[in-house]
């Protein structure tokens, strides 16, 4: 149960070195930066750094140049060999690249415009393919006007009505809605005929007067011209490619450095400046101290001071677990990060989660399938749940061996209740037929598991609370020493009476181990006050620790006019008794409900066996392939449906029955700064 030890780091140095120092902190990969101290109201003449991004314009310019050159920029490129440090140097370099490419790029853009224009004309011209007259001569006719364009198909028939008008109509290619056409008309009638065609929906296409030869020749010439343009564009692109090849790598490095410098400006908001020297603080893992100091000292004119802060509530929390337990950190973080001076419950979660899942969904075949699915998801995705799926799949397979269940069949492997020593121990003379025959024992076993887990978490709570000097939770709480004694004694007494027939619940036993703890819980407030008066430290009552509950109570108290620091309002005797009785009743009820909640473990074992039994009966109704299909479908359904539900139920047990007993949250997550990190 490990929370990584962290050290507080104070870095100070010459203001000139601030950027480089921040970049080094980012490069370390394990530096958590603190927000700047609030110096308002003090005599210190300090200021925070937050300059506008001077590199932004240059980053944009680099991107534009890269676009022109077709260079793919990589903001993660290594830029150690780029010696430019000030904006003037970067500007000079970018100017030199600009000089190389600007004339070529401008020419390329002009040629592209020309190409587009010629291409549009070409596409219009090919609609009039087959005109065997020189277009230039046709368009230059003095007494005849030629109009090229398109007319709606429906209007062509209407032209018969205007047969007496002075125009000649030549249709070309007919499309779905329009027909490309040409009409010729004497210059004197042009206005009337244009009006007529306009009313018929004719859309004119203007052909340039530089077209020579008939339509096909003109189109060929246009094509040849376009080829020339394309060739020139290609040559320019080749030249640009050469520049890109020569300068691309360096441009990318320059870009990466500019981005890093630009982003480091965001972090400057956390830097305080006194007397032309910068100061900022942060946290690093204690084991990296020497390495970090060496890294920062390499900047020069910068000093690094570290301090151990293992008992500091405000230190960020970084969980540290081995490969087996690490994936379960996700569940812990979902609930909340443990307090810096608390404990990391990940190993407990990992072990109990795997154990409970395997117990509730024990099947060798299905477990192995889940495990393979988990392995595949781990390999091909970055899903945080994938490694957990692998582990619970394995656990399911192990319990499958114990239950003797392989894809629902209990005939391949001998189940545990068929082992003579075990079934005799359970009180059977012959091996029970199936798991349903041992259902009562199974439910009792589920309760025992629940009781053990509850007691275990109570112990954890006692250790954590006493470590954090929280006497209320550690001694008088429902999960404290008193609660532990009460619960353990009651369970032991009832267990011995009913299961073993040994009567240990004598009046002395009941008064000392059952009633007394409850009385202590009832009088916890006056007792705590008494202990504090005798100099015992109770963190929870004197300070708002990481516990959210305490924070809320204090807030409520202050809203009700209570003094700061948890000083409590005096209660009347009546109110004290009523509140105490209600609290006590609730505590006792919680013990019962929490214990009963674990019955679901046995319930799911039976439901799994039941579901598989249903599918094997349905499969029995079919023969051959049909039977196999039903079994395959049944296994897929049960694995997906029940596997998912069991996962949720176990998580529920973890969060509601176990975590609520010992977890002290409120930890600040350890966030390593990186290039692009925002201010803390």
């Amino acid at each position: 149960m490990a929370i990584e030890k962290v050290s507080l780091v104070l870095i100070e140095g010459s203001l000139k070195k601030v950027n480089k120092t921040l970049i080094k902190c980012c490069e370390s990969g394990y530096f958590h930066i603190n927000p700047p101290p609030d110096t308002s109201g003090t005599e210190l003449e300090a200021k925070n750094l937050k300059d506008k991004g001077v590199y932004e314009r240059m980053i944009k310019r680099t991107k534009a140049l890269a676009d022109f050159l077709g260079v793919k920029l990589d903001e993660n490129a290594a830029y150690d060999d780029i010696e430019y440090n000030v904006s003037v140097d970067f500007k000079k370099y970018l100017d030199s690249i600009d000089n190389m490419q600007s004339s070529l790029t401008e020419e390329k853009m002009t040629l592209n415009d020309e190409l587009r224009s010629k291409s549009a004309i070409y596409h219009n011209l090919i609609q009039f393919s087959g005109i065997d007259v020189d277009l230039a001569e046709l368009l230059a006719c003095k007494y005849i006007r030629a109009r090229f364009g398109r007319i709606p198909n429906g209007s062509i028939r209407k032209l018969d009505f205007y047969a007496d008008k002075m125009f000649f109509f030549y249709p070309f290619e007919r499309k779905e809605k329009y027909t490309w056409c040409l009409y010729l008309t004497p210059a004197g009638d042009a206005n009337n005929i244009d009006y007529l065609f306009n009313n018929l929906g004719f859309e004119r296409t203007t052909l340039p007067d530089y077209l020579k030869g008939n339509s096909d020749e003109a189109a060929d010439k246009l094509l040849a011209e376009m080829d020339t343009y394309l060739a020139r564009i290609e040559a320019i692109e080749k030249q640009l490619d050469e520049i890109a090849e020569r300068e691309g790598a360096k441009l990318s490095k320059v870009y990466a450095k500019l981005v890093a410098l630009g982003n480091s400006y965001e972090l400057r908001a956390n830097v305080t400046v006194f007397d032309n020297r910068f100061h900022f603080t942060g946290y690093i893992p204690s084991k990296e101290t020497a390495k970090f100091k060496e890294l920062i000292n390499s900047v020069g004119d910068v000093t690094v001071t570290t301090r151990d802060v293992s008992s500091d509530d405000n230190a960020p929390v970084r969980l540290k677990n081995n490969w087996l337990f690490r994936p379960f950190e996700m569940f812990v973080k979902m609930y909340g990060l443990p307090a810096a001076n608390g404990i990391d419950p990940t190993p407990l979660v990992a072990i109990t989660y795997m154990f409970l899942y395997g117990m509730m969904f024990g099947d060798l075949g299905q477990g192995l399938c889940i495990m393979i699915l988990g392995l595949l998801l781990t390999k091909f995705t970055k899903a945080g749940l994938a490694p957990i799926i692998t582990r619970i799949g394995f656990s399911s397979a192990v319990f499958g061996v114990i239950y003797g269940s392989v894809f629902g069949s209990e005939e391949i492997i001998k189940p545990f209740f068929h082992i003579p020593q075990i079934y005799e121990l359970m009180g059977y003379k012959e091996p029970p037929e199936d798991i349903f025959a041992v259902s009562t024992m199974l439910l009792i076993a589920a309760l025992i598991v629940g009781i053990i887990l509850i007691l275990l978490t109570m112990l954890v709570n006692i250790i954590v609370s006493l470590k954090m000097h929280d006497l209320e939770a550690g001694i008088f709480g429902a999960s404290g020493i008193c609660g532990f004694v009460f619960y353990a004694s009651l369970v032991a007494g009832l267990g011995c009476s009913f299961a073993l027939g040994i009567e240990i619940m004598s009046p002395v036993y009941i008064i000392c181990l059952v009633v007394l703890p409850l009385v202590l819980i009832f009088f916890k407030e006056p007792l705590l006050e008494l202990m504090e008066n005798h100099g015992m430290k109770n963190e929870k009552r004197t300070k708002n620790g990481g516990n959210l509950d305490t924070g809320l109570k204090t807030k409520l108290a202050s809203m009700n006019g209570g003094a700061e620091g948890g000083e409590k309002k005096k209660k009347s005797v009546g109110s004290f008794i009523i509140e105490g009785i209600i609290d006590l009743f609730e505590t006792c009820l919680t013990y019962i409900t929490n214990t009963m909640s674990f019955l679901r473990i046995g319930g799911f074992v039976l439901s799994h066996a039941g579901l598989m039994l249903v599918f094997s009966i349905i499969a029995g109704m079919f023969e051959g392939v049909g039977s196999v299909i039903v079994l395959i479908f049944g296994n897929i359904f049960v694995t997906g449906f029940e596997g998912f539900i069991v996962g949720i139920q176990v998580l529920r047990l973890e969060f509601y029955e176990l975590f609520s007993r010992f977890f002290k949250g409120g930890g600040i997550p350890f966030k390593s700064v990186s290039i692009g990190s925002k201010a803390a």
Binding site: G154, D160, F161, N199, L200
Partner: protein, 339 residues
């Protein structure tokens, strides 16, 4: 099944009609091209406007495309009709046919055959009983009588068209009567019992609206005598009985009485306009929306939809016209009928 299909499709299409927000946006466009561009994005008009050149499109072209969209919608839905496209559903084609014939008569009288040809929806040519090019080529009404001699319009129109001094209004009324008679014949053939009466009432209500609009226009714009006005009315009535019209026309200001006769409280429009014509059209619009929502008859549902689409296209024409003549959007909006 088929019955439900037409009704369901008609209702579904009514959900794609332009909304108040759409109209507000269209009213503030500053060119016909911009309106066309906006209609490109609306489901009912997207197909017709798909290939248009927004920079070059002009008013007449845009209006034709809107009409084309409405016609295509009719064709799409009517093919699901149980009676087939030549059954009761053909009333809509008959309506277009009669409208075009009225326009042709007016074009021959005013000598504006070219304009008729420009605006003629060429896509209906194969569905109507006369050749539009021949009709547009008629130099006189008697020549027009020759051209339509092989059509159902010959008998009711021939005498009037060949008269020495033809009365254009009587000819138009006769064409409208032809349409109503044709619709009633189809209703008698294809519907029975309650549905037959319901459909007839439905058409008669539209006749009431057309008659009322004729009265309003002639009274306020042309100040015609009551006898002359009566000659222009279609002799079919539902609520707007001849006697009531006669009584109203005797009043010094018959417009409020006439409007009240038609715009009943039940279907009174939410928007009260100062323009009587808008009130009548808005009332019509609400009536057809209501019928489309509740009707169990496919004919009534499709007819209601087509009337709603017609109102929508009229709205769009007004918007385009407003833009073309630089009218302020608020001014154009007064004439827009919307939900």
């Amino acid at each position: 099944m088929a019955n439900n299909a037409v009704t369901a499709k008609s209702r579904a299409i009514s959900g794609k009609l332009l909304t108040r927000d759409d109209y507000t946006s269209l009213l503030h466009k500053n060119s016909v091209g911009a309106v066309a561009g906006a209609l490109k994005t609306r489901p009912l008009y997207a197909e017709a406007f798909a290939d248009i050149n927004e920079a070059a499109i002009h008013r007449a072209q845009a209006e034709q495309l809107i009409e084309r969209s409405v016609f295509d919608t009719y064709m799409r839905v009517s093919k699901f009709s149980a009676s087939g496209k030549n059954g009761i559903m053909s009333f809509y084609i008959k309506r277009i046919e009669s409208e075009q014939l009225i326009k042709a008569v007016a074009a021959v009288v005013s000598g504006s055959q070219e304009s008729f040809m420009f605006s003629f929806p060429e896509y209906v040519t194969e569905h109507i009983c006369f050749d539009p090019i021949q009709v547009a080529g008629a130099k006189s009404l008697s020549a027009l009588a020759d051209i339509i001699s092989g059509t159902p319009y010959r008998r009711p129109l021939e005498e009037m068209l060949r008269a020495d001094s033809p009365d254009i209004n009587r000819i138009i009324t006769a064409i409208n009567v032809c349409y109503i008679k044709c619709a009633f014949t189809r209703i008698n053939e294809c519907a029975s019992g309650k549905e037959r009466q319901l459909l007839k009432d439905f058409f008669l209500r539209k006749t009431d609206a057309d008659n009322l609009l004729m009265c309003l226009r002639t009274v306020s714009a042309f100040r015609l005598e009551p006898e002359r006005i009566n000659e222009l009315l279609i002799p079919y009535h539902k609520r707007l009985r001849q006697r009531k019209i006669d009584e109203a026309l005797k009043l010094s200001d018959p417009v409020p009485t006439l409007t009240e006769m038609f715009v009943t409280e039940r279907i009174a429009t939410a928007r009260v306009s100062d323009i009587p014509e808008v009130n009548v059209n808005a009332s019509d619009y609400r009536y057809f929306r209501h019928r489309l929502a509740v009707s169990g008859s496919e004919t009534e549902a499709l007819y209601s939809l087509m009337m709603l689409l017609k109102t929508e296209s009229t709205n769009l024409f007004r918007i385009i016209e407003g833009i073309r003549y630089g009218l302020p959007p608020e001014e154009t909006e007064k004439y827009i009928i919307m939900q």
